[in-house]
Structure formats: C-alpha cells, structure tokens
Amino acid sequence: MKKILYIIFLLLFSTTAHALNIFTCEPEWAALTQQLAGDKADIYTATTALQDPHRIEARPSLIAKARRADLVVCTGAELEMAWLPVVLRESGNSRVQPGSNGYFEAASAVRMLEVPTRLDRGDGDVHAMGNPHIQTDARNFLPVAAALSQRLMQLDPANKAAYQQKLTVFEQQWRAALAKWEKQAAPLRGVAVVVQHKGFPYLSNWLGLREVATLEPKPGLEPSAAWLSQVQDTLRQHPAKMVLRAAYQDERPSQWIAQRARIAAVELPYTVGGNDDAKDLFGLFEDTIARLLKGLQ
C-alpha cells in the first residue's frame, strides 16, 4: 500500500515538476522550440497552419493555456494584435506579459522588411513594424533560435547545458540544410511571381523571386473581380510564372488568375503543418522549395 502511494506521489510530482510550460502562437515557433528544448518543455500551439494568424478568436481555451505558461513565443510585429493582447491580459499571468522575461517575440531578432514609410489605414492593414511573415525565409531561424535559446537558458538555468547543446546541433543542421536548399532553389532566382497576400517578401528576398503583382488590392482586403482583371492586365505586360498562396488562404482568387493568365497556382505550406510533408521545420522548407520548382515547369 505504501509503495502504491509512493508511486502515485511520484507520478503527481513528475507531471507537475517538469520544466517549462510554453505557449507558442504559430506552429513554426512550436517546431523551433521543440528543436531547442526537446523534452525540457511542454509546448502548446495556439494556431494551426490552416488558420489566418491575423484573425484568431481570443478563445477561452487560449486564455486558460496562457494562464499556466512560463513562456509565450510569438512572431510579434503586430501579427497577433487582434487576439493576443486580450489572451494575455485575461490570463492574469504576470510572467508572460509583454516586457517580461516570459514573453518572446521572434520578430525582434530579425531584420524586418517592408517597414512602412507612412502609416495610413488607406493603405490597408499594414503593420507599423514591418511585414510580420518572417518565417518564410529559412535564414531567419538562425537569429531567432539563438535569441530563443538564450531565453530558455534564462528561464531554466538548471538545464542550460542541454539547451546549449541542442542549439549547437540545430545550428549545425540548419546551416547544412540552408546550403542544400539554396543550391536547389537556384533556378528560382529572378523568377516573376504573383502573390495572393503580401505574405512572402522574406521568401522572395531569400530565393530571389520577383513579385510583380498582389491579388489583394491592399493588405488584408479581399480581392475583388475588378481588381483581379487589373492584375490580369498587369500580367500581360509583365508575365509571371506562378501565383503563390499560403495553405490557410482561400484558393479561389489564385485559381481564377491561374486559369486566365495560364500560370501555375502554387499552394505553399507557409508554416509547419501546412501540408502532410511539412511535418517539421526541415520538411517545411524542403516542401516549399519542391513546390516552387514544380511551379516553374
């Protein structure tokens, strides 16, 4: 009997005494945290690859998860502006409020693109700090990983060596993968593309894609029929090879333009879980490049 009690006691404590409870906003940061923390962390992902991260409801379940988090890992740069502030405020968890150690923004570790020179809602849903879709450039994961690993060591100093070792392994593997991907993606350099949402500047910047048109008339606005035919005119003068959209986006606008301009409609996973091949960070970029290359044919 005593033995059973002892086992129950152990079980109770081994589940409550595990290391960090981490709330991640997007699947790419969950995957990165998994690489860097391994079994030292219990990771929750607030959104999936099939959800528009701009438009998430501040659901009770998210608030409950944030309540128990030791660390919140998000993109930042206003991407989660429509829901995260409410989730954090309602959580009553002082450890993860913006400005505290338990709040990490990936965007703060990378150089932002498309920082607007003027802030006017007439320009659509622009973000003051720049385009927040930083995860489409694989190179960005190196500085984010270094900063995030630093944060993990700060919050859980007992496991510092383990985090350091995991970071070194990740950096090594990632650098090797980067070299491989960049080589594979060489034919994509200079290729003209159309994008559905302004969600790919980092990808284009990395692989040298040339964005000639956007299907959303302004960021965040749905494409109208009139605007789409204007895009079609643009494409007559500046032909593109393919139209890109993220897995969570409505496929109709890309299909429409793909049929009329006779170009390939390419659905990119955009983040981990965007399709069956994008199971982890490595799979995400392997699949992205494979799909882009296929769009070239």
Binding site: T47, T48, L50, Q51, D52, H54, R55, I56, E57, A58, R59, P60, S61, I63, A64, R67, R68, M81, A82, W83, L84, P85, V86, R89, E90, S91, G92, N93, S94, R95, Q97, G99, M112, V115, P116, T117, R118, L119, R121, G124, D125, A128, M129, G130, G220, L221, E222, Y248, D250
Partner: protein, 404 residues
Amino acid sequence: MFKRFCSSTAIAVLLIHSIQASAADSGNAENAFNPAFSLILSGSYGNLQRDPAIPATGFAMNPNPGHEQGFNLGESEMGISANIDPQFRGAATLALDPAGGISVENAFVQTTSLGDGLNLKFGRFFSGLGYLNEQHAHAWDFTDQPLVYAVLWENQLGEDGVQLKWLAPTEMFVEIGAEAGKGRGFPGSDRSKNGSGASVLFAHIGDDIGIEQSWRAGASLHRTRRVDAVSDAVPDLPGTVGGVSNSFSGDSQTVGMDLVWKYAANGNFRNSYLKLQAEYFRRKENGDLTYDTAGTNVTDTYSVTQSGWYVQGVYQFMPRWRSGLRYDRLDPGKAAVGALNAGNVIADHAYNPSRITWMLDYSPSEFSRFRLQLAHDNSRQGLADNQIFVQYIMSLGAHGAHQY
C-alpha cells in the same frame, strides 16, 4: 534650376529617411508613450411603424431604451488606453452624444501584474455578467440589444466600483468573478451612501472541441436594493389615460445564464464561421409599491418575477459578408400585489412580448461595416411593428483586440 531640383530632391530624401527612421525605431520616439487612441463613428436610419416610446407589454416599470426613427447619428465612441506603469493599465471610453455633450461610458484601471490568475479592475466599467454585457455597441451583431437586455439592464449594465476575477490554473477555462458597485445602472438606484449599492457574482467555463469548435458558458447573479425607483406613464387597472407614476422600493435579485458556441472550418475565422449564442435572465423583485404618487398615493407590498431570453445565430458565409437571425422573448410574470393596490396595479398581463430579427452586414475591411436589419416586433400587445434599420460602423485609429 538644376540646383533647385537637387536641393528639393535632397530634402525629399532626407524627409523619407527621417520618416523611415521614426517608423523603425518608434520605440524611442517621445510620442510612443502616447496612449492608443480610437474613434468609432456610427450612425443609422430607422423606419418604424409604431412610436418607439411605447414600452413592451408588462414592462412599463422597466427602462425602454427604444430606437431612433429616421436618420440618426449614433453615439460616436472615443477610446483611449495604455499601460500606466508596470502594474496598471488604464482605459476610458467616452461617448459623444449626437445632441452634444460627452458621457463617460468606461473609465477604469486594471492590474497587469497581480499574477496567479487574478485581475482587479476599478473605476467605471461594464459589468462582467452575461455574455453581451461587456461588449461595446460597435461589436454588437445587431443594431440593437436583445429585448431582455433592454428591459432588464437598460441595454447594458455599467457600474462604478471594483471587480475581482480569478482564473483557475486548470486545463479548462474556469473563471470566477465578483463585483461591488454603487448601483449606478438600472436596476440599481444610484444612491449616495456608504457601502456597496449592488453586487455581482459570475462564473465562466469554456473550452475547445477539436480545432473547429469553441464554447463558453456562464452563470451570473446580480443583487441590489432599489429605493424610490419612480416610473412614469404606467398603465393601471382603472385605465387612467396616460398612465400613472409609481414608485418601488425593495430587493432585486437577478440570475442569468449564457452560452456561446463558435464554429469555423479548420478554425479559420477569416473565410467563414458560425456563432450561436443564447442568454436567459430572471429577476425577482420584492418590496413595496406606491401606486399613483401624484394622486391616490397608496403603498402596499409588491413582488414580481420577470424573465426573458434570446437565441441568435450569426453566419459569415463568405469573407466580408455575414447574416444573422435572432429570436427574443420576455415574460412579465404574475405580480403578487398587496390588497390595498389589488384594484389599481395590473398583476397579470397575460402576454409574452417577442420579436424576430434578421440582419445582413458587409465589411469592406476590418475597420468598416454596413448593416441592414429587419425586425418583426411583437413586444407590445396588439401593436405589431415591422422595423427596418440601416447602419454603419467605422473605426479609426488603434483597433484593440476583441474579446471572445
């Protein structure tokens, strides 16, 4: 000429640079400390067949916020919020009345660093009871509140006081809260006295069902003591033309239940979603009623239980377009009237006010919305009303996150 061109180009380049710099390191600029500022502009056109001043049958002693006829500038709402220091956040919402004048809708301070799931709020705020009560008018799914909110809470219960909420550290969302306040909004009677004039208790639970569905359920209890609450133009048994003025003093206790359920394919709310919600409130009032204060002036006991509910669904069938349907119903209850007033006060109205409402709205962007609403209103016995509303809601400046 060339020189002039060069210098103006140089100035332009410099300007662009300085703008870029200020946008990029806005964290350093002094105005980065300015609070988030937002302005809601709204207005409507109402076409009614009946006088909106006529109250729902059996609810003449309740508020009747009613509707506006014709073109009408709605309340423009100005919101200001910011962190005060690492411990506190402040928020104020000022309503600009179309007729002139400003009223303070919200002005509260809340803690940001208590931790352990605790949130303390003090000042003027919308009570946390029910589901719709905390939502600002610009976030409503219809141009008006459900009948039960109109007659039992005068659309929304605002309170001057303190609110303490605690979120349990559980896997499921479990939150409890308590409020003590002045009793400013109906049914409180806003007296100047020591102690608290009204109190509220509420509890919420909620969770996800897979990735596509989420829900929240709640229960609330509101208590206050009403003193000399005067109502005018109340119909009576003798059939006095224009009604009489009554005054009520007594205890008021309201219980409520609310349920919200949301669904979106893959949990992606951008393309389409469905939101169903229902709320029920039941108020018991027990005290003394003075009949016809300007004339007969007879006081005797009076107690009544009023209740009401609504159920509504809103469906976003494609990006930018939503449609909704709502059904409202009220029960004025059978009053127990003291013997002295048995021949004066109407005890049983034998009528349940109801209304059915349909709306269609279109949002060109996240910051603008147009709405058409049609209602068939049977809230007044024998005075069915077909109502048409057209409304716009625009939001400028900072756009805060919305609650669930």
